[in-house]
């Protein structure tokens, strides 16, 4: 069975279990709404401040929500020791990561796209005219968050202080993604919208480096 077939089989499982439990998406959406609404109280909508700080707040909300969403992705595999079953049945352990990465990215993107209108209304920032470019930045940023987050979730799931460990390891690690995504988003939401290819390139490089690391060392992260 090829890596792609194994990944597709596992991705299907991730979707099915999530659609039935609705554990990750619901928590993430509620959390992002709360953060965006609470942050909006601190700004005067329509002011230039809102446009300046909005992208940073938006990505902070996505980052915190992702750390909440990524936590259970390996933890719930430990409930019935299903991770051991996957390790024994999968011809390539990297497929386990790829499937989780794809599912996490999809869930995060879905929540981000659902939250964009809320952000646009509350912060009075028009996003529709740059939606395709914004979707590209959201995609590159989300892959970055999820690729590093999935690796850290695998490490922290086996640790004793797992609930604390994931955000402690993940948030500093994702600082470059936060900066690049915020800068790229801010440039798109400016008076003269511009797609900053330098920041987009940086995000793509980050994604590629972490994906390669996961491919090389992923199996060790799954060991007991």
């Amino acid at each position: 069975m090829s890596l792609l077939q194994t990944t597709a089989t596992l991705f299907n499982k991730e979707l099915r279990t999530e659609l039935r439990s609705r554990e990750l998406i619901t928590t993430t959406i509620v959390f992002i709404v709360l953060v965006i609404v609470l942050f909006s109280f601190t700004f005067d909508p329509g002011s230039s401040e809102s446009r300046r700080f909005g992208p940073g707040l938006l990505w902070l909300a996505f980052l915190f929500a992702a750390s909440l969403m990524l936590q259970p992705c390996f933890l719930r595999e430990q409930l019935n020791d299903t991770l051991s079953a996957l390790r024994m049945a999968s011809p390539d352990p990297f497929a386990i990561f790829l499937a989780k990465l794809a599912a996490n990215t999809m869930f995060l993107l879905l929540t981000e796209l659902m939250m964009l209108p809320v952000f646009a209304v509350l912060y009075n920032v028009p996003v529709w005219h740059v939606l395709p470019q914004l979707a590209l930045v959201l995609f590159a940023g989300s892959v970055g968050i999820c690729v590093a987050g999935t690796a850290v979730a695998a490490i922290s799931a086996q640790a004793r202080m797992r609930e604390l460990l994931l955000p402690l390891l993940l948030l500093p690690l994702l600082t470059p993604v936060l900066i690049a995504s915020t800068e790229a988003t801010a440039a798109l939401l400016a008076d003269k919208p511009e797609l900053r290819l330098d920041w987009l390139g940086f995000l793509a490089a980050f994604d590629l480096v972490f994906l390669t690391a996961l491919w090389l060392f992923g199996e060790f992260l799954l060991e007991e």
């Binding site: 069975m1 194994t6 089989t9 596992l10 499982k13 099915r16 279990t17 039935r20 439990s21 409930l79 019935n80 020791d81 299903t82 051991s84 079953a85 996957l86 390790r87 024994m88 049945a89 999968s90 011809p91 390539d92 352990p93 060991e223 007991e224």
Partner: protein
């Protein structure tokens, strides 16, 4: 479905496993030849589960070596020829019985996954509940499905950790008959047991672990019954 490929033997040499300061396994050495059915006895905490998890390639020994067949146990190819039943069910509660079996059958590259899943659901008596979520199952039903999952790919080596857990008397009889059938098909079996004479009857050899050490082995002349008799502490 008969056992895929030649049965796998197992050989360990001075195997040790530590968890911090706690020594779970102490320099264990023995060999299980292909086709043997070995029952492993011992008190709780004697090291049975630790040994089985190392043999399944899920955990690394601290020292010593363990080989399955002629290869290093950690290789994925070897791991995929093992059928493992652990303490936990290793099943997804949010998937149905059929979806669980199909998932693992597809991962293992079984061409006739649906047919194989259906056969095993029939054998386990769960065919009528194949579309029910596993979270709605009783412990005994989950255990039957767990055993079915381990048998999906007709493994060459079965590692069963207390496989009778949660099974009622008919369930134990079904499991004993299943183990007999796979043993006679040439599959190597290593299973930890607590009592359950019906399952012990399948064994062609018995070993007993005490405090992480190999305390008795029927291959040295002692009877299987006496090796499996765990002394009161």
């Amino acid at each position: 479905m008969t056992s895929a490929g030649a049965p796998l033997g197992l050989r360990c040499n001075n195997l040790e496993k530590r968890f911090g300061n706690f020594m779970a396994l102490r320099r264990i050495s023995f060999e299980i030849v292909p086709g043997e059915a070995v029952a492993l006895a011992g008190h709780n905490g004697s090291g049975k589960t630790t040994f089985l998890r190392i043999a399944a390639g899920l955990s690394r020994p601290t020292a010593g070596s363990l080989h399955v067949g002629s290869e290093d146990i950690i290789t994925t190819a070897v791991r995929m020829r093992i059928g493992f039943v652990a303490h936990q069910t290793m099943l997804y509660d949010e998937l149905t019985a059929e979806e669980n079996l199909l998932l693992f059958a597809r991962l293992q590259g079984i061409a006739t996954a649906a047919q194989r899943a259906s056969e095993l659901l029939q054998e386990t008596g769960l065919i009528d509940r194949r579309r029910s979520l596993v979270r709605t199952f009783s412990r005994g039903m989950r255990q039957r499905l767990t055993i079915a999952r381990a048998l999906l790919h007709a493994p060459a080596l079965l590692l069963f950790d207390e496989p009778g857990t949660g099974l009622d008397a008919p369930g134990i009889s079904w499991l004993a008959a299943t183990l007999l059938r796979v043993r006679d098909a040439g599959c190597t079996i290593l299973m930890s047991l607590h009592g359950q004479a019906e399952l012990a009857a399948v064994a062609t050899r018995a070993m007993r672990l005490e405090a992480g050490s190999l305390a008795a082995d029927s291959s040295s002349g002692e009877s299987i019954e006496s090796v499996l008799r765990v002394r009161e502490r």
